[in-house]
Amino acid sequence: MKILVTVKRIPDPDESLKFADGGVDYSASKWVPNAFDEYAVETALRLAEVAGSKERLAEVIVMSVCPQGQRQHVTQFLAMGAERGVVVDADDSTLDSITISKLIAEVARREEVDLVVAGKLSQDNEGNQIPQRIAGLLNWPQACFAAEVRREKDAKELTVSREVDDGVEIKKIPLPAVLSVDLRVVLPASVSNGVTAADHRYQEGARLASLRGITMAKRKKVQVHSLEDLGVQNSGSETTRAITPPPARPSGQIVASAEELVEKLKSEAKVL
């Protein structure tokens, strides 16, 4: 089995934003991997490995559309355990979701992967659409907002628990398919592959790279593409008119006691 994981770099979400000229100035930002993509890589690795053994059930390829020379996030995911990388040299902040989805779909086709795993959301752009688009372009089934993923040994399908508005939906999808992962997919027992012992518990969260992983990452293969050689044109369907800070909330007050709180909720805020 071949798994393609899509990964993106984002400006550190803990930094405050610098607004300038109707936009945000990211020139001094620290760039970090999108958290949902760390979870996506963790999901793929859990599907691919047999805990406690060297056996591998799948090859994990990480793919990113990112500016030339800005691939620390890709190296980081290779250090975490992915086998190899594919990058498209392009400043993704200048490409719309249509274009990025086409680039990823084209790589999935060429690599003949069985599964694409993506994060459900990029924390900066918050498009919440690229995985669904990839599935549409490939005409494959999709399971979005996954909290649990189960695969029986050698099965050509996945059983996915998806977080939906009023609960959890359990969806079976035949492979090849696209998966988008939500936060709880990295809880200790959220992913099973039918080969790792059923009672195995992973450490919560995405794994850290080991020292050996970091050394090995430098030697792993990263294939480089351009829009041209993937035959994709920049669609340019979206134009940003402005990026502005949201209106600030007027500052509030600290009350001294529960009595004062309830009194003010009643007489001042009039919400009781």
Binding site: L17, E126, N128, A135, Q142, I173, I243
Partner: protein
């Protein structure tokens, strides 16, 4: 014509009330575009659903229906096929609805099949259909224009008032059923969280607990306050991840976006991802033992203290206030 097509959702034979803010957003887009408002009903037997919606007078001129057993239960695969066929048949130039988990699943897939742009979680409609949406956990607002023959949107439910009925009735029009396929997927089960409380995203009052509640049992005092206020219970990611309450109670960037009249955050620190889901609330109350907690920066009323001591007092005082 630049008509706006809203994809509707139903439960137990009734229009979901969560669709109503999305209709309001669509109407605003139609007004700036000079187009008509149309609805789309995808179901095994859409006629009775469509008749009821058409009669409710929600502002649409036409309610389109497409019938296929593949539309139930919902799958993004079949719905995207239906939506694409409906766009072709109706020449809609804008397609969308409320940003529910289903439409967030199906609309981007349909948009990809039509090579169309999609603007997610729209919070405001400007001139020439420039749409505003929050980015970076609500720390910035992006105003975006889309080009192309057709453009998609999802509307953030908390940001638009629900459309009210009582207007002119709409015409129902049957669309030919397109080739619709679930691509071999099956929905094995839908485990609905049972609750007698109002839906989180529609409640007037939301009471949320965080990691500082320590365990699920301790949420009882929050539930009591919630019920006293007729509200909905919410939680931070830390509380849902720890299994104190079900995951669909999570408020935040990755959970529900709420904007009630009153939001009470108890033992929640106020991480930006949590704030992204509740900053739009009218009145925010925070109870936290740490006076440095960032939640106090957005709270209208902050009480520094332990929930173990303060919540029972608040509960009694609210009871008294309600009685008096």
């Amino acid at each position: 014509m630049s008509n706006v097509l809203v994809v509707l959702e139903f439960a137990d034979g009734k229009l979901k009330s969560s669709c109503l803010p999305g209709i309001t957003c669509a109407k605003q887009i139609a007004d700036t575009n000079g187009g008509e408002l149309h609805f789309l009903v995808l179901a095994a037997e859409p006629s009775p659903l469509a008749q009821a919606v058409a009669g409710a007078g929600l502002g649409a001129t036409t309610v389109h229906t497409m019938a296929s057993p593949a539309f139930e239960p919902f799958t993004a695969e079949a719905w995207a096929d239906g939506i694409v066929a409906a766009v072709h048949a109706t020449n809609a130039s804008v397609v969308g609805g409320t940003a529910s988990s289903s439409l967030r699943d199906a609309l981007p897939r349909a948009a990809a099949l039509l090579d169309a742009a999609l603007t997610s979680e729209v919070t405001a409609v400007g001139a020439e259909a420039v749409l505003t949406r929050p980015i970076s956990a609500g720390r910035a607002l992006l105003e975006q224009a889309s080009s192309g023959d057709v453009a998609f949107f999802t509307a953030r439910g908390s940001e638009f008032p629900p459309t009210e009925g009582g207007g002119a009735a709409a015409t129902v029009s049957e669309l030919e059923t397109a080739e619709v396929s679930t691509r071999g997927v099956s929905v094995v089960d839908i485990q609905k969280t049972k609750s007698t409380r109002p839906a989180l995203s529609e409640a007037d009052v939301v009471v949320s607990g965080g990691r500082g509640m320590r365990e699920g049992d301790n949420f009882k005092v929050l539930e009591e306050l919630t019920d006293l206020l007729g509200g909905a219970l919410g939680a931070s990611r830390a509380a849902t991840d720890a299994g104190m309450v079900p995951p669909d109670l999570q408020v935040g960037q990755t959970g529900k976006i709420v904007a009630p009249n009153l939001y009470i955050a108890v033992a929640i620190s106020g991480a930006i991802q949590h704030l992204a889901g509740m900053k739009g609330s009218k009145t925010i109350v925070a109870v936290n033992k740490d006076e440095e907690a960032p939640i106090f920066q957005v709270a209208d009323y902050g009480l520094v203290g332990k929930w173990e001591e303060e919540l029972p007092k608040i509960l009694e005082l609210v009871k008294a206030a309600k009685a008096g």
